[in-house]
């Protein structure tokens, strides 16, 4: 069944079950995203894709909200811009976004003040370097859940990672903080591939950043592989 609605004043017809994000793309309107990824389940976490729907009390996340008949959607209203800007400003005061180019562009687009929250407590996080394949720099983690989803039901079915902590102290956990080689991890690299902020970074890239050359990197990685427990 076809559903008719309007997005930013333009009429759109799409199939029932289409999300507002997909419908907006039909008329070349892109909603900004942080947590959304084609390969992982949309959970509506970041709320950066929120849009305003006439008659609705609160904003709607475009990634998970299905279209309905005669809906009037505004993707760039003042309320929408305000929420997006404030979310970016709060996030920037929480974690290191320096290696998240998409988010840097969004901050420019929404004129986010990078110093909006003086004296804000940054999230307590660590850099974990415990295996030869990738580094987990959780100071850069935006809690998009994509790594957990890729490790679990969405891609690899290895279940080495879980969301942990709670509230502002949310984090990505392994079983009792076990280093990756002691978990079920098979080092498939899917988590690294879906990470939006370089919190998960391949070892090669990590060593290159530290100025090591190709041979040094190879030796370093071989040394670490030998220390891996056998499964």
């Amino acid at each position: 069944m076809t559903v008719k609605l309007s997005i930013d004043g333009k009429p759109v017809s799409v199939a029932e079950g289409t999300t507002l994000m997909e419908a907006a793309r039909k008329i070349d309107v892109d909603t900004p995203v942080i947590c959304y990824h084609e390969a992982t389940t949309s959970e509506g976490l970041c709320r950066q894709c929120v849009v305003e729907v006439d008659g609705w009390r609160v904003l709607a996340p475009a990634c998970v909200t299905p279209v309905s008949q005669d809906m009037h959607v505004h993707t760039d209203s003042e309320r929408v811009q305000h929420a997006r800007r404030t979310i970016l400003e709060m996030l920037n005061a929480t974690v290191d976004l320096s290696q998240a180019p998409d988010l840097q562009i969004q901050m420019d687009d929404y004129q986010a003040d990078r110093q909006r929250f003086p004296n804000a407590q940054v999230r307590d996080a660590q850099v974990l370097d415990d295996n030869p394949f990738y580094v987990r720099d959780y100071e850069k983690c935006v809690m998009c859940w994509r790594c957990v989803q890729a490790c679990g039901d969405d891609l690899q079915f290895t279940y080495s990672l879980s969301t942990g902590g709670r509230g502002y102290e949310s984090k990505i956990s392994t079983f009792f903080d076990a280093p990756m080689p002691e978990t079920t991890c098979v080092f498939c690299g899917n988590c690294v591939a879906v990470c939006p902020s370089n919190a998960l970074v391949s070892k090669t890239e990590f060593f290159m950043d530290q100025g090591l050359n190709y041979d040094q990197i190879r030796q370093e990685k071989r040394k670490q592989r030998k220390q891996m427990p056998r499964k």
């Binding site: 942080i34 959970e43 509506g44 976490l45 970041c46 709320r47 950066q48 929120v50 609160v58 904003l59 996340p61 998970v64 309320r79 305000h82 929420a83 404030t86 979310i87 709060m90 996030l91 005061a93 929480t94 909006r116 929250f117 003086p118 004296n119 804000a120 407590q121 809690m143 679990g152 279940y159 080495s160 990672l161 879980s162 969301t163 942990g164 902590g165 709670r166 509230g167 502002y168 102290e169 949310s170 956990s173 392994t174 079983f175 009792f176 903080d177 978990t183 079920t184």
Partner: protein, 557 residues
Amino acid sequence: MLLPALLEAQNRYNHISKEHASLIGKALRVPLADVTGVIEFYTLLFDKPTAETIIRVCDSPACSLAGSAESVDALTAQLNTTPNQATPDGQFFVESVPCLGMCEHAPAALRGEEPVSQATADKATSLISGDAEAPQGIIYGDERPLTARCGVVVPTSLEDYLEHDGFAGLHNVLAKSPEDVIADIKTAGLMGRGGAAFPTGIKWEGAANALDDTKYIVCNADESEPGTFKDRVILEEDPFSVLEGMLTAAYTISAKKGYIFIRGEYPRAQRIFEQVIAAAYEQNYLGKDIQGVEGFDFDLEMRSGAGAYICGEETALFEAIEGKRGFPRIKPPFPTTHGLFNKPTAINNVETLANVSLLMRIGPDQYRQYGTEGSPGPRLFCLSGDVVKPGVYEVTEKTTLRELIYEQAGGLVGKAELQAILFGGAAGNFITPAQLDLPLTFEDTRAAQLSLGSGVVMIFNGTRDIRQALVELGHFFAHESCGKCYPCQLGTQRQLEILERVNHGAALPGDLERLNDVGWTMTDASLCGLGQTAATAVLSAMEHWPELFEEITVSPN
């Protein structure tokens, strides 16, 4: 079964060791990372040793007004320890916790699994030794149709319940068709008492019409809203009325299985309800062919919360029963079609279910004699703070706040002047003495852009610093945010930081605007009701008393 297993390990060994967590995960076929994720989510679960006895002191506004911070100081001084640190002999562990739902007995505490009332600093010795006083329900009201049995019957006695009109409603129900029961509930105009005021008849109709052989009834007994304690009183003093409401729901929507999810901080209510379930099975009020009605089968299981306010949100509660972190789900779909275990589910609050039992006994017309046209039926309010007679008030006719506070509850302690009322709950609004003539009905509060919420009326006298209460509320929401969506995960922390500055008289230029931006972003963009209301009290205080938030300009000299 993950949460019950983890709670059992916690109770037996005072924490969950890596070894036990691993055994539990393997036995239940839950990925070990997820076991850790669940332990880290719930505050009653610890992955490091605590102590033989944990003493929890409530730090929410009503208890704070009554001196709970001093109680913690006295306890830790006597035990020669610090908060969140076991005594060297491993006997005691003292922690401050959010609302324990005993605001009428402030400051409240839990010693192990025993609730304690008036746990003031001078009673620290008896609190440690276990000789402290246990609280009883305090209920007021001229006519108390809903709470008539409270304090009168032996709560766990089915015989007593039967002698006091118990199950009369259910027997009327069993003589009707499910459609007629729904019609009665709609005629009665019953609206949910958990805070959202959703029409119960429409909810049940949705679940009844859902096409599925498996359906569930869930009682939401995760009462955790600071200032709310009415459900605790019903659970402890008239638990069969809740069971009767659940049976009515089961009959109406054709559910064979139900759960009552009682918050972990209500151990006494849990003990009582376990006995109630056992007695009901014995007398064929649970089980197969209930009361001789062929095919009317219903099994009921009690589940304990594990320390998470968010689990009062219905979909987060389902996740907790399913053994997961208590994250709220995206709606739609709604529980009536996709609820517990993704099956059609009717989930109702404790007071709502007790109302069902009453209205099915006396009939919808008689039921509507109570309340007003727009707010039918009796309604419970929870009075706490600086009031002479704190307690649960059953209101059966149009009553204003002024009448409730000054005529029924004896006014303010020491005849002090009223400064503010926190109305509806921690997720509600601050209101001022100018609004005292507000009638306590759904329609009047909505017209005033307020919400009855869970019936909270918390009173602050003129000597209280509202900024301190705001910090406590800010702390509560930051502590209880589940962390799923960004606006709430980040916003509750940013809000708390600014409120702390304001409270210390150290607001920065632009803080008022920051607070406003954070508040509206949470309200407008959060995923669930927690985030959407985490700034309501703060925004209302900013409107009433902007001067409280002004930056202090310190001159360079």
